[in-house]
C-alpha cells in the first residue's frame, strides 16, 4: 500500500513537471517586458529654497483651449443667494461658508486657467517625440508670481520632452497676475504647484 501511494505522488510530480515544460514551450510564461530606459539623467534644476510640500495643488496641462466661459460662471455664483426665510443662524453660517468656499474654488480655477494658458503659450512641443509622454514638474512661486524653483518630479523617460517642459516654465518666469490673488489663497494653493505636461 505504501509503495502505491509513493507511485501516485511520483507520477503526480512528474505530470506537473511535464505540464510546466509543455506550457513553457507554448510560450505560456513569455511576456514582453515594457521598459522605458532613460538614456541619461534629466537636468538637475536646483531649488533655491524649499517650502514644505503640504499644500500642493495639481494642475493638468492639456493641449486644448481652456474654457472661456469662466466669466459666466462668476455670474452664476453671485446669483446663488441664500434663502432668507430661514432663521436658523447655524444654517445661515453654513451657507455662508458654502458660498465662500465655492467662490474660492472658482477663484482657484480661474487663476489656474490663466497659468495654464501662459505656460501653454510658452511651451514648444519638441518634434518627433512619441505620443503618450507625460511628465510632472513642481514649481515654487513667490507672492509676486516669480517662479523661484522648478523641479522635475516625474520624468517622461524622454529627455527632450522633459527639457521642453522645463524650458517652457523658465520662459514664463513670472505670473504677473499673482498680485490679484488673495494672500490666504496663495498660501493655500499657489505657493507650491505640480504641473503635468500631457499633450493630446
Amino acid at each position: 500500500m505504501q509503495i502505491k501511494s509513493d507511485y501516485l505522488i511520483a507520477s503526480f510530480i512528474s505530470f506537473l513537471i511535464h505540464a510546466l515544460i509543455i506550457l513553457y514551450l507554448m510560450d505560456f510564461f513569455y511576456s514582453e517586458k515594457k521598459v522605458r530606459p532613460i538614456l541619461s539623467n534629466p537636468i538637475n534644476v536646483n531649488l533655491l529654497y524649499k517650502e514644505d510640500n503640504k499644500a500642493i495643488s495639481k494642475i493638468e496641462i492639456i493641449e486644448e483651449k481652456p474654457s472661456i466661459n469662466s466669466i459666466n460662471t462668476i455670474e452664476n455664483i453671485i446669483s446663488f443667494s441664500p434663502k432668507i426665510e430661514s432663521t436658523n443662524i447655524s444654517k445661515l453660517i453654513r451657507e455662508d461658508q458654502l458660498i465662500k468656499s465655492s467662490s474660492e474654488d472658482h477663484q482657484v480655477n480661474q487663476f489656474s486657467n490663466m497659468m495654464i494658458q501662459l505656460i501653454q503659450s510658452a511651451w514648444i512641443k519638441p518634434q518627433n517625440i512619441q505620443d503618450g509622454l507625460v511628465c510632472n514638474l513642481r514649481m515654487v512661486i513667490n507672492k509676486n508670481g516669480r517662479i523661484v524653483a522648478v523641479d522635475l518630479i516625474k520624468s517622461s523617460g524622454n529627455i527632450r520632452f522633459d527639457n521642453s517642459a522645463i524650458k517652457a516654465i523658465s520662459r514664463v518666469e513670472t505670473f504677473s497676475f499673482f498680485n490679484e490673488i488673495p494672500f490666504n489663497l496663495y498660501q493655500k494653493n499657489f505657493k507650491n504647484i505640480v504641473i503635468t505636461f500631457n499633450p493630446l
Binding site: 510560450d27 521598459v35 539623467n41 537636468i43 536646483n46 519638441p126 518627433n128 517625440i129 527632450r160 518666469e173
Partner: protein
C-alpha cells in the same frame, strides 16, 4: 591567372580642409554665449572654431559670438548677467587653455546659467598638443551634456566606404573618421568592392564584407592594431553583417541556395544558424538594443517591408512592423528601443523615416530625393545617412529635433555610414 588587388593594412592619414554645412537648426534652440577660450593664440583659434562648429552641428544651440555681446567677461567675477539677460541668453561658456608642459595641454571650462546667475559646471580635461581636435570634441560634449542632459557625440567616430576613380581604376576605401568627417583614417584599400561596414558594440572592432579575392569574405578588423581576421567566406554573395549587442554573434545575409536569407554566425565557434526560410528576399538584419529581436527587410508581402523576429520566444514567426507605402527597408532600432528608423519611399522619393512602436504612423525626417543607409548616433538623437545629389553621394545628418547638417565629400562617393558607440 593573376589576381590583382592592393591592400593597405596600416592606417593612413589624410589631411584636408573640412567643409561643414549646417542646413537647418532646431525649432527651439538654447541661446548660448560662447566666450573665446583664453590661452596662446596658436592653439585657441583652432579649439574655439571646432567647439563652435561642434555645438552648431547638434542643432540645439543658437550661438552668440563675442562680437554680438554687450560685455565680454574676462574672469568669473566679471560677468554682468544683466547684459546677457537682455539678449535672451540662457547659458554662458568660458574657458582657458594652458600648456602644462611640452606634451600636455589642459583645458578648463565653465558653464553659467544666466537666469540663476550661477556657475553650473566647471571641468578640467587634459590632452596632447597634436590631438587638439579630440580635446575640443570632449569640451563640446561636456557643454552639450550639461545643457541638454543628453550625452554628446562629437567625440564619437564614423565608419564609411568611399569610392574613388584613380587612373581609370575604381578604388574602394574603408574609412574611419571623427563625427564631423575630419581626421580620416583609411582602414582598408581595395580594388574590389567593400560593403556593409559596422561597428562592434564596444567600438573597438569593425566588421565588413570584402570581395577582394573574388569571393565574398566577412572580416573583423581591430581599429587600434589594424589586424584583421576572416570569419566567413562564401562563393556566393554575403551582405550586411550586424553585431549582436553582446558582441558574440553576427547576423548576416547569405545567398547560399540562390535566395537571400538571414543567418546568425556564432563568433566563438563559427557555427551558422539559419533564421529565416522564405522564397522571397530576406536581408539587412539588425538587432534590438537588448538583443531579443532581429529586424530585417523582406519582400514576402510583395514589396520590401520591415519584419521583426523574436529570438527569446520559442518557435517565433516573423512579424510585419511597417505597413505604410510600398517600400520600407534598412531598419535600425533607436537605442532606447522605443522605435525604428528606416528608409521609406513616398511617391518617388526615398527618405529617412521614424516609427515609434506604440504608434501606427510614420514620421518622415528628411525630404530629399534619394536617402540611404541611416545609422543612429549612440545618444539616439542624430541619424547619419548617405544622400545622392546631382549624381554625387555624400553624408548628411538629421537630429530628431529637426536640425540638419552635411558632411560634403572631398573626392569621390561616400556610402554606408555607420556610427560608433561612445568611446569612453
Amino acid at each position: 591567372m593573376k589576381i590583382f588587388f592592393s591592400l593597405l593594412f596600416f592606417t593612413q592619414l589624410i589631411f584636408s580642409e573640412l567643409v561643414l554645412e549646417i542646413t537647418q537648426g532646431s525649432e527651439d534652440p538654447y541661446s548660448i554665449a560662447l566666450i573665446e577660450f583664453s590661452g596662446s593664440k596658436k592653439i585657441t583659434n583652432e579649439i574655439n572654431s571646432i567647439i563652435n562648429t561642434d555645438l552648431l552641428r547638434t542643432g540645439e544651440f543658437k550661438i552668440f559670438r563675442e562680437s554680438q555681446l554687450l560685455s565680454i567677461p574676462t574672469n568669473e567675477e566679471d560677468i554682468k548677467f544683466e547684459d546677457f539677460k537682455l539678449l535672451g541668453i540662457d547659458f554662458i561658456i568660458t574657458g582657458s587653455l594652458t600648456n602644462e608642459d611640452k606634451f600636455n595641454i589642459s583645458a578648463s571650462y565653465q558653464v553659467f546659467n544666466v537666469q540663476k546667475e550661477k556657475k553650473i559646471r566647471t571641468s578640467k580635461i587634459f590632452g596632447i598638443p597634436n590631438k587638439l581636435r579630440q580635446l575640443a570634441h570632449y569640451i563640446s560634449d561636456g557643454i552639450y551634456e550639461e545643457i541638454t542632459g543628453l550625452k554628446g557625440v562629437a567625440s564619437t567616430k564614423l565608419l564609411y566606404v568611399t569610392e574613388n576613380i584613380n587612373d581609370d581604376k575604381i578604388i574602394f576605401n574603408l574609412v574611419v573618421a571623427d563625427s564631423d568627417g575630419s581626421n580620416e583614417q583609411i582602414l582598408l584599400k581595395s580594388s574590389e568592392p567593400i560593403i556593409s561596414p559596422s561597428w562592434s558594440p564596444d567600438s573597438k572592432k569593425v566588421a565588413y564584407v570584402s570581395f577582394e579575392t573574388g569571393m565574398a569574405k566577412v572580416f573583423i578588423q581591430t581599429i587600434a592594431t589594424g589586424k584583421r581576421e576572416m570569419v566567413l567566406e562564401n562563393s556566393s554573395q554575403i551582405s550586411s553583417p550586424s553585431w549582436s549587442p553582446n558582441g558574440k554573434f553576427l547576423s548576416l545575409t547569405l545567398y547560399q541556395d540562390g535566395n537571400a536569407e538571414i543567418y546568425i554566425l556564432n563568433l566563438k565557434n563559427q557555427n551558422l544558424t539559419r533564421l529565416t526560410n522564405h522564397y522571397a528576399i530576406d536581408t539587412e538584419s539588425s538587432w534590438s538594443p537588448n538583443g531579443s529581436k532581429i529586424m530585417f527587410t523582406s519582400g514576402r508581402s510583395g514589396s520590401p517591408q520591415l519584419y521583426e523576429i523574436n529570438l527569446r520566444k520559442f518557435s517565433s514567426k516573423p512579424k510585419r512592423i511597417t505597413f505604410e507605402g510600398n517600400y520600407n527597408a534598412k531598419g535600425s532600432y533607436l537605442s532606447s528601443g522605443e522605435g525604428i528608423v528606416f528608409v521609406h519611399r513616398s511617391e518617388n522619393n526615398f527618405q529617412i523615416a521614424l516609427k515609434y512602436t506604440n504608434e501606427s504612423f510614420i514620421r518622415p525626417l528628411t525630404n530629399s530625393k534619394l536617402d540611404e543607409s541611416p545609422s543612429i548616433s549612440p545618444n539616439g538623437n542624430v541619424i547619419i545617412y548617405a544622400i545622392t545629389e546631382n549624381g554625387m553621394s555624400m553624408l548628411s545628418g538629421v537630429t530628431l529635433s529637426g536640425a540638419k547638417f552635411r558632411l560634403p565629400a572631398r573626392t569621390g562617393e561616400v556610402r554606408e555610414p555607420s556610427w560608433s558607440g561612445f568611446l569612453r
